[in-house]
Each structure stands twice: as C-alpha cells, then as structure tokens.
Amino acid sequence: DAQPALLYDVGGKFDKSFNEAAYRGMEKFKAETKIDYREFEIQNDAQREQALRNFAKKGNSPIIAIGFSQAAAVEKVAKEFPDQKFAIVDMVVDLPNVRSIVFKEEEGSFLVGLIAAKASKTGKVGFVGGMDIPLIRKFACGYVQGVKATDPKITVFQNMVGTTGAAWTDPVKGGELTISQIEQGADVVYAAAGASGLGVLQKAAEKGKLGIGVDSNQNHLYPGKVLTSMMKRVDVAVYKAAMDVKDGKWTGGINVLGLKDGGVDWALDDNNKSLITPEIKAAADQAKADIISGKIQVHDYMADKTCPF
C-alpha cells in the first residue's frame, strides 16, 4: 500500500523546474488515487536525513528524494529502514530498496540543440546555465553536440549565472547573459538555470528572439517566444514510483530514463507549434529515433567529465 512522501531539494517546491515537476507528478497521483502524501522542503543540509527518517518512521513508502544532494542521506536512511521503499532522482544510490532515477539530460538537450540549430537564422545560439557544476555541464554538452551535429559551423555561446547558491535565483543576471548572447548574434538561447532561467526566457522574448525552457514544459510562459522545452519527466518518474508501490510492481535498482523511456523529451504544444516547422519536426523525430536505436551516440559529460565538442 502506498503512502508516498516527497522530499524537495533546497530550491524548494515551486522552483518552476524539477522540484515542481516532482510536485506535479505527486499531485497527479493524488488526484487519481485519492491517496494523500507528505512533503518537506529542507532548509539546511542536516534536515535531509532528518526528514527522510521522519518519513520512514511514520511508515511512508515510497519516500522520494529529489536532487543529487540527497544521495548521502538516502543511502544512510535507506540502510536503516531496509523494508521501506525509497527513490532518489538525479543520483544513484546502490541499495536494493532504493530506486535511483537518473535522466539522460544529454539526450533531451541534444534534441533541443538540434531544434535550436535548425531554427537559428544567425548561425549562433546560446546556453545559459545556473551554476558551474557537473550537472549543468551535462546539459550544456548534450546541447552543443545537438547543435554541432546539425551544423558544425554554428557558434554556441555558453554562460553561467554565478558561483554561489544565488545563481539559481537571479533572473536579472540570467537575463543580462541572454542579452549579451543575443547581442553577439545568438537568436536561440537555452536556459538550464532554475529560476534564473525565467530571466533568460523573458529577455529572449523581449528581444524578439527564442528561448528554450528546461525541466518542465515552459512553452506557455511566453507563447510563441519559447522555441521548445527540454522536458525532464521527473513528474512521470515520481508518479510512476508511487503508482508502482500502490500496484505492487515496485522495483529497486537504477532507472536510467532517456528518450526511449520518455524520461526526457522536447515539448511541442499549441504555444510553439507555429515555431516548429514540419522540417524541424521531421529532423527532431528522426534524431530521436536514431538516438533510441543507438545510431546516434550522445556523449554523457559525467562519463569522463569532458565535453569533446
């Protein structure tokens, strides 16, 4: 029987990004099953373990932790409660009662890179990351590969918003970086910067250029001005984890969710359908199929911590 609990990362529940996606997945679960869930937003690092243990003691299952920072805590608490089911998003914890859900962000990023390259008229596109950390480099690397695979001559500008936690909550700086890239000629800018990304999409829209959203489908933020969004279906993964427990189908182990599993994808809806020409759509679909079939190998930055593009 499922009694899910959800532990958000420091970014907090409504980060318009992956924490929020997790929240939406859980809400969907709740709506469909009428089963309520518990949740907690941590304030400092010491609370990770505390919250997980609190959930575990109260018998919650599955206990889903969002974000790579939770790994150590999940590992510890999952060991203490071997009979309860845990899940962690964005990191691998190698325990039988933990489902590690990691995404092939590089595959989704590859596709939006391809779309960006196709949509760009100037032959220049941009990437704005939040903080210069490995995860964001992973996004960037997939994106660059997608762009270069489409047209090696296209320039990709890359910027990071900052070097402290504030980098995720600084839309102003995100916006300025976007303007800077646009002034250098970029006409499509991909944001992977949490709330700072809002500034990226906004400035792109304001300047009559295109932005690319991340994590959730952000196309609706500036209809007609957001080229697409690289969706990382944390919502689906969370929903599925809860459902699996409810249906008795739960399994531990590592779930690597790529294009094949619908874990990552690019967003197409009413808001951006005017931007996605049939030609672009065809190319994206083809690339997607090729990646799934293994014809195209997307490089994972984390594999060797380098980006060869």
């Binding site: 937003e41 304030q43 010491a46 790994a71 990191m91 950390i133 490995p134 992973k138 070097t163 402290t164």
Partner: protein
C-alpha cells in the same frame, strides 16, 4: 559619568531584560502565526516538544546549538576587542576546506587520531581567513564590517571553485567532496552512547558538542582569567587606557580576530567531519549571522552565549518539526521568527531598558549613603 542614572541590578540586566525581549519577539511571531490562521499556542507546543521532547529532537537541537555556540563565541571574542566580526560565514567555509583537506588526507585512519588535526586545521584556516580583515583593520584602518562581508562572498566563490574544479568527487553531479570513510568520520553521540543505553536516535549531535562546551569554558577563561583576555577587554573598552597600560591595540585586534576566526572554524569540524561527512558548498548555512544575535543576546558571555545558542537551536529544530506537522508553516516562517528574535532581542534590546530602569533602578539616596558609609 554619563551613566549615572543607567544602573540596573545585574539580575534585571542579564535575566529579566533578555527574557522580556525574547517574549516580545515570540508575541510578534505569534501574530504572524495567527495571520496564517494557525493557533500560536499549538505551534509553541509542537516546537517545544519537537525540540526537547524526544531524545532525537534534543539531539538535533544540540547539534544546532553546537554551531551557534561556535559562531556566537567567535562574534563575542571579537566584540570584547571592540570589533564587529560579521565574517563567520566565510571563515567557516574556509575552515571547511581545511578540515576537508586534512580528513581526506588521513581518510581511513581512525577518527580519534584525525580529530586533533582536523581541529587544528579548522582553527588555522578559519583564523587565516579572519587575518586579512584583521590586519587591514589594525594596520590600515579599513572597516572590518565591510571587509568581513566581502570575505564572506570571496569564501563562497572560492569554495565553489575548489569543489567544482579541484576537490570535487569524481562522478558526482554535486559540488562536494567524496564521503569520508566511516572510520574517519566522527561518530554521532547516538552511536557512541548506544552501548550505555542512551538513545539519541540518529540525531547529528556528536563529540563536537563537547568541543563547543570546552570552547565556552576556554573563552570564559581566556576573557576573564588570562592576561591576554584582560588586554583584549581593555583594548576593546578603552583603547586610550590600553595604550597607557602598554597594550598595543593593533596587536590585540589581530590576535582577537585570529581567535575569533579559529572559533568559527570549529563549526567546520561539526559539519564536515561529523554531520555531513564531506565538504559541501555552504558550510555555515546562516549560522554565522545567527551567531551575531547569539553573541548579542548572550551579552558576549559564554554562559549567555550557550543559553542563547540553545534557544536558537530550539528555534531551528522546533521549526523543522513544525513544518513536518503543519505543512502550512513553511521554512520561511521559521526565518521570519528568527528575524524577529534578532530584531527584538538584538537590535531592540534596549527597548524596555528605560521602563525597567524606572522600576528597578536603585534610589539615588541609597547609593550616596553607601559612598558616605
């Protein structure tokens, strides 16, 4: 003397006044609770029970207390020297780097062997980060408040750079060092005391708490029982008298800031070597700023600081329990309550003084008689 009429009995000054201040802060916070239509009495109950009612809750409270004692003492030592050190955040971060370097270097060795080195590294690195602002203040007269703020930012930048590019764990998405082995990591009290039948659950309180208590005693001895402490207080209270007494104020500024930074540094032992078992980007997590309030509320006396740190520990742990039990009260609510405590017990600490003076001040004639006697 201008202070002629400002004399409160010590009991009023050190007990009644702070208590009245804290009560005011809680009344103000209660209003905020009411505003989001929750019952303040219920809230207080949950907080108290959550923070003190269970061994594990108490353990968390003491864990927070540990950090606040370190930063509170740090601010207080500087304050005795007449300085405002608002750089504990940065000093703790740099100390974290030191602790990480040492513990990683000795990773695998038993913790009791590594601990002295970790403590030394924490103090040396924390002190080193405090040294530059201190030197600038002592020799070039630059305002220590501004320089320590700048050094907080610089430390944050430095630690992220190191964690991403230099010290980071291979294969991790997060900017963090690799986890210490269990042997090297400081065991928690929960583990240590279990054989004795004391169950603190898995709360993160650990032997660093004892270091914090020892630090309180050490600071108390230092400030009131050593020559150096005497010199620090003299230079901090009356620099002219200090010069007259052959004390070099510049030297005192530097020494006391080194001690201050070293004390903050110990926080890193708690975080890096014990609780987290690795270095993360945010070592102090706001404890540096809380330390300012703790020092002020504790009147820069170790006993007062320990009590104030415990109060803030209750606030933090009780606050966490509160968000577990009443989801409507978010972590931001806790920040607001902390802010109100800092405001009323710190900045507005003298608000009730005139009133208490009217009630408690000794009658003038009595003092005159005493003198005559």
């Amino acid at each position: 003397m201008s202070q002629a009429s400002r004399e409160l009995p010590p009991f009023v000054d050190y007990v009644v006044l702070p208590v009245v201040n804290v009560i005011t802060a809680f009344i103000a916070a209660g209003l905020v609770v009411l505003a989001i239509s929750e019952n303040p009495v219920e809230v207080v109950k949950i907080m108290i029970v959550g923070a003190l009612g269970t061994p594990e809750g108490l353990g968390y409270t003491l864990y927070y207390t540990t950090n606040f004692i370190f930063t509170g003492l740090s601010v207080a030592v500087a304050y005795h020297a007449g300085l405002f050190n608002i750089g504990p955040e940065g000093q703790a971060a740099v100390a974290g780097i030191g602790v990480a370097l040492v513990t990683l270097a000795f990773d695998g060795a038993p913790w009791w062997l590594v601990l002295p080195f970790a403590v030394a590294a924490a103090m040396v690195f924390g002190a080193a980060w405090a040294f530059i602002p201190a030197w600038l203040q002592a020799r070039r007269g630059s305002h220590i408040v501004i320089t320590t703020i700048m050094f907080n930012f610089l430390a944050a930048t430095l630690i992220v750079y190191l964690l991403v590019n230099v010290m980071g764990k291979a294969g991790s998405m997060a900017p963090e060092t690799k986890m210490l082995s269990d042997a090297t990591r400081l065991p928690l009290f929960g583990t240590l005391l279990k054989p004795l039948g004391i169950d603190l659950g898995q709360s993160p309180v650990n032997p660093t708490f004892l270091i914090a208590i020892a630090a309180c005693v050490a600071v108390w001895l230092l400030i009131w029982h050593t020559r150096l402490g005497y010199e620090i207080r003299t230079a901090g209270t009356n620099p002219q008298a200090a010069v007259y007494a052959g004390i070099d104020p510049a030297r005192i500024i530097i020494i006391s800031m080194l001690i201050s930074g070293g004390l903050t540094g110990l926080l890193a032992v708690n975080e890096v070597m014990a609780v987290q078992g690795r270095l993360l980007t945010d070592v102090a997590q706001g404890a540096g700023f809380v330390g300012i309030a703790v020092a002020l509320m504790g009147r820069s006396h170790p006993l007062g600081i320990a009590l104030a740190a415990f109060l803030f520990g209750i606030l933090y742990q009780g606050g966490a329990e509160l968000s577990f039990d009443i989801p409507k009260i978010t972590r931001d609510m806790i920040v607001v309550i902390q802010a109100l405590v800092i405001l009323f017990a710190g900045a507005l600490g003298n608000m009730y003084r005139p009133m208490l003076e009217r009630i408690f001040a000794r009658r003038p004639d009595r003092r005159a008689e005493e003198t005559e006697a």
